[in-house]
Symmetry: C2
Subunit: 384 residues, 2 copies
C-alpha cells in the first residue's frame, strides 16, 4: 500500500500535516516585509525553545554544517580543544576540529556507553595554564541512543573558567531539558529534522556573549558560516543569504505547535515514549544497546541476538511499512534504532511495538511472550 | 486579496503547483533504497541540465555556500586568483577569496556594464609564470541584470592553460546556454531557487577532472563543504550529511518538467521573455539599466528617472500584488528589477507589464503612450 510509511527513525522525523501544508505554499520574497515579520516571530520562538536570551541563529545547512559553524567561529588554528566522543557524531566533531588545524584531545567511551564526566574534570583541572579553549560535547548521541551527562561535564567546564562549552544538541533540543541560560552553555547546535518537527535543511546555533568575545579574536577562515554576519542580519529579522523560505514558514508553524504544547509537556512526552519503548523492548526479550540511566529521548537502540537486526528492519519495512534506523559504522547490521523524536505520540509507539511483536513472531523469536511488548508499553502509559 | 502574490523577482522564483505538492509529501528516510532511487534519477537529470559528464554535486546551502565550496576546494592560502566583479555577486566571490587568504586580483566594471574580456586576456597573457590558479566569473550578475561574456573570458582562460575557471551560474544555469563540457568549464555553481523552479535551500556545483586534480593538493580547511566527500556519496546516490529530502523530491519533479520542456525550449523561452520585457519597458519610456547586448535572461533592471523606483515597486505590490526586486547596495532605491527566471511564462510577462502600465498611469508618468508596453511585448511574442 502506498503512502502508509511510518517514519520511526531519529531524523528525518515525522512532520505534522499543518506544517507540510504551510511549507507547500508558494514562496514569498526573502527581503519582503511579510517575510521579515515571519522571521521576527520565528526568532522570538527559537529563543523560547532554547530557553535563552542569547542569539539563536538560523543557517541553511545540515546539523553538521551548523556544528562546524559552532566550532570554527570561536577558535584559531592550533587552539587546543577537548572533544567527547562515544559515537558517530562525537567522532565527527573531532574530525572537523582536526580538519581546521585545532589541537584535538579526545575523551572517548565505548559506543553504547556514556562519556565519563570525571575524565573531563581531570583534564580540565590539570590545565592550569588554561590552554583548553573549548570543550565539545554531544548531548544525545544519535548513533547509539545514549544521553551524555552534559550538566555535570558543563559544571567542570565552568570550574575551568576559560574554555567555551560547545554542545551538539541536535537530537536533544526540543526533546529533553537543555536550559541554555541556566547552565550557561556557550554554543548549542541543532537541526530542523529532529525535535523541531520540520524537514531537514535548517540548522540552528545559539551563541553566548562569552562566545562572541572569543569570536573577536578567532582567526579560522569563514564566510558562508561566519556567524557574525548571521548575528547582524538576525537582529534585523533578516538573513545574510537567501534562506529556504518554505522551510522557515514550516518552522513558524511548527514552533507555534510547540508553544501550544508547552516545553514541560514536550519533555515529559519524550520521556514517556522513551520509557514505554524501552519497557516494551525488554518485555520482548530483546537486549537494549545502552543502559536506562543514560537513555536518549530521541532514539532507543536495540542489539538483538537471536534474530538478525537487518531481518527485523526488513520485515518491519516491507510488511508493516515502518521505517526503523540501522546501526552506523561498526554497528551497521548489528543494531537497530527506534526513533521517538519530534512529532511522535503514544499512538505511534503502540503501532511500532505492535508491529515489532508481529515481526518477531514471524521471524520465530522464541523467548518472547506474545503481547508482552504492548502490555509493557501500556503499563508505562497507565502510570504517567 | 490574500494568496494572489505574483513573485517576479530573480529568486526565490515561482514554483509550479506539482512541485509544491511533491514537496509537501511526508519525508522519507535519507538512507532508504527509495530515496537512493530518487537521488539516482536526480543525479542523472542534473548532468543533463548541466550538459556535462562531470560530477554535479548537491549541497544543502544557499548559492553563496556552494560558490564558497567551488572556490575553497581547489585552492590553497596564498594562491593568486583573478576575480571579475561588476555587481554584488562578483564582489562577494572576491570577499570569500580574501576571507580564505587567497591573493585576489580583481577586474571590475561599473554596475550595469559587462566585464571586458580583453582585461582578462591581458592579465592572463602577462602571467607567463602561471601564478594565476583560478579565474572566478559571475555569468549572470543578478544585481544588475547583466550577462557577462563567459564564452570569451573562458577562451582566454583556456589559452592560459593552467588556471581553473570557476563560474557563478546561479541565475544563468537553466535559463541560457551554459555548455559545460563543450566550453570546458571547471567549476560551475548554481542554486535551487532560480532556473530550477524549486524553493531555496539547495546549491549545485559541477566539477571537472582538472578541478579534481587541483583538489588533491589544495589545502584550505574544509569539512562540511569538502566536495570530495560529496563526490564519493554522489557516486553511490547517497549524501554525506542529511539532505533536505523534501526539496530533493521537489527537485525530482521540477527536473522532470524541465526535461519534458527541453533545454532548447527553456532557453528560447527565457530569451523571449527577456526581449518582451525589455521592449515593453522601452516602449513605456523607462530607461533600462544595462544595454540589450549584455542582457541577462534572469532579470531586467530598470532605472526610472521621472518616477521614484520605490514608488513603482510599492504600487505594484500593494495594488497589484506583484513583487519586483529593488536595487542592492549603491543602487538601493534607484533601480527595480523584474525577474523572468524559471517558472515564468508569456502570461506572467503580460501581467507584469499590464500592471506596470497601470502603476505608471497612477503615478502620473507623463512620457508614456498608454498601452504601448503591452503592444511592444505582444509584438515580440508575435514574432517568436
Amino acid at each position: 500500500m502506498e503512502d502508509k510509511l511510518k517514519l520511526m527513525i531519529p531524523g528525518p522525523t515525522p512532520v505534522p500535516e499543518q506544517v507540510l501544508l504551510a511549507m507547500a505554499k508558494h514562496p514569498i520574497g526573502h527581503r519582503s516585509p511579510e517575510f521579515s515579520e515571519i522571521m521576527a516571530e520565528v526568532n522570538e520562538n527559537l529563543k523560547w525553545l532554547h530557553q535563552t536570551k542569547n542569539d539563536v541563529l538560523t543557517v541553511t545547512a545540515s546539523g553538521t554544517g551548523v556544528m562546524e559553524a559552532g566550532i570554527i567561529n570561536f577558535l584559531s588554528a592550533g587552539d587546543r580543544v577537548l572533544v567527547g566522543s562515544n559515537g558517530k557524531f562525537g567522532d565527527r566533531w573531532g574530525k572537523i576540529s582536526t580538519a581546521f588545524g585545532l589541537e584535538v584531545d579526545t575523551i572517548t567511551a565505548e559506543w553504547g556507553k556514556p562519556l565519563d564526566p570525571e575524565q573531563f574534570r581531570e583534564k580540565l583541572e590539570a590545565d592550569t595554564e588554561k590552554q583548553i579553549k573549548a570543550v565539545i560535547v554531544t548531548h544525545s548521541e544519535t548513533s547509539t541512543g545514549v544521553l551524555n551527562d552534559l550538566e555535570t561535564i558543563n559544571r567542570y567546564v565552568k570550574d575551568h573558567g576559560e574554555a567555551l562549552i560547545i554542545v551538539d544538541a541536535v537530537t536533544s533540543l526540543g526533546a529533553v531539558n537543555v536550559p541554555i541560560d541556566e547552565w550557561g552553555l556557550d554554543v548549542v547546535g541543532s537541526g530542523s529534522q529532529k525535535g523541531y518537527m520540520i524537514p531537514p535543511g535548517l540548522g540552528f546555533v545559539s551563541v553566548s556573549p562569552k562566545a562572541w568575545e572569543a569570536y573577536k579574536t578567532a582567526t579560522l577562515p569563514k564566510f558562508y558560516l561566519d556567524l557574525g554576519t548571521y548575528k547582524k542580519s538576525t537582529a534585523k529579522n533578516s538573513n545574510p543569504f537567501t534562506p529556504p523560505v518554505n522551510l522557515v514558514i514550516a518552522l513558524q508553524t511548527a514552533l507555534g505547535m510547540m508553544k501550544r504544547e508547552g516545553l514541560e509537556s514536550i519533555f515529559s512526552r519524550h520521556q514517556r515514549l522513551m520509557e514505554a519503548t524501552r519497557a516494551a523492548v525488554k518485555a520482548l526479550s530483546l537486549p537494549l544497546f545502552g543502559s536506562d540511566e543514560y537513555a536518549s529521548p530521541a532514539a532507543t537502540a536495540v542489539i538483538p541476538t537471536s534474530v538478525e537486526s537487518e531481518q527485523i528492519r526488513s520485515v518491519m519495512k516491507k510488511r508493516y511499512n515502518i521505517a526503523l534506523a540501522g546501526g552506523q559504522d561498526n554497528y551497521k547490521g548489528k543494531i537497530f534504532r527506534i526513533g521517538h523524536l519530534g512529532f511522535v505520540s503514544e499512538q505511534d509507539i503502540l503501532t511500532v511495538i505492535g508491529a515489532l511483536e508481529a515481526t518477531l513472531q514471524e521471524l520465530g523469536h522464541q523467548s518472547m511472550t506474545p503481547g508482552a511488548g504492548i502490555a509493557a508499553a501500556a503499563s508505562v502509559f497507565a502510570k504517567s
